[in-house]
């Protein structure tokens, strides 16, 4: 079975400082990893994904994520946080084979608060 862990329920960061939201995963075969953001009373908005290739993935709104196979991690990062980045962030994994290849498994989410 595939799973995702987001160890921090909440991350607080000052505006202008770098931010990191942590994610570790477990899956059979090669992982397909995703980050989504959710604003209050809204659906999920796709930020970025890792399928293969360069371990540093760049996405929307200045976000990037680093894939680390040995640590089974896919941490989300941004060099300079904005107040408008405050939201709920979800990491998700999809497997390479069988049933896991079409369903996303999500972490519990991390609430990011950027303090002015």
């Amino acid at each position: 079975a595939q799973s995702v862990a987001q160890p921090e329920d909440q991350v607080n960061v000052a505006e202008g400082n770098p931010l990191t939201v942590k994610c570790t995963y477990s899956v059979s075969g090669n992982p397909y990893l995703f980050w989504y953001v959710q604003y209050p009373n809204r659906g999920l908005q796709f930020l970025l994904k890792y399928i293969t290739g360069d371990n540093l993935v760049k996405g929307s709104y200045g976000f990037e994520a680093e894939f680390n196979k040995s640590q089974t991690s896919f941490h989300l990062k941004k060099p300079s946080a904005l107040v408008s980045d405050s939201a709920l962030y979800f990491c998700a994994v999809r497997g390479q084979f069988g049933a896991g290849s079409y369903q996303l498994t999500f972490g519990k989410g991390t609430k990011l608060s950027v303090i002015p």
């Binding site: 009373n41 659906g43 290849s101 079409y102 369903q103 996303l104 999500f106 972490g107 519990k108």
Partner: protein, 116 residues
Amino acid sequence: DAGVTQSPTHLIKTRGQHVTLRCSPISGHKSVSWYQQVLGQGPQFIFQYYEKEERGRGNFPDRFSARQFPNYSSELNVNALLLGDSALYLCASSLVTSGGSTDTQYFGPGTRLTVL
């Protein structure tokens, strides 16, 4: 291009009733997935449909059913509603790769179901 659309936005039902939720995918996307997001949790996979066939089903009771129409829109049906069915129901659409895997899933705004 229009994104994934869902209707209705909000719904209030009482225990034992039946509900139908609707989803229209992004134009060109033939795969639709449904997820349930309970407050404070990440989305949980319910179903995926591709070319009108069910590809997969999550760990949900038979009270939950779905179908996909020739225009690739989809309905999620829930019978005999329970209080625990109160949640945000998310629909996602995606392309399918040549290898049969699901590409990036794009989510709609969701339907907020409240069961009293």
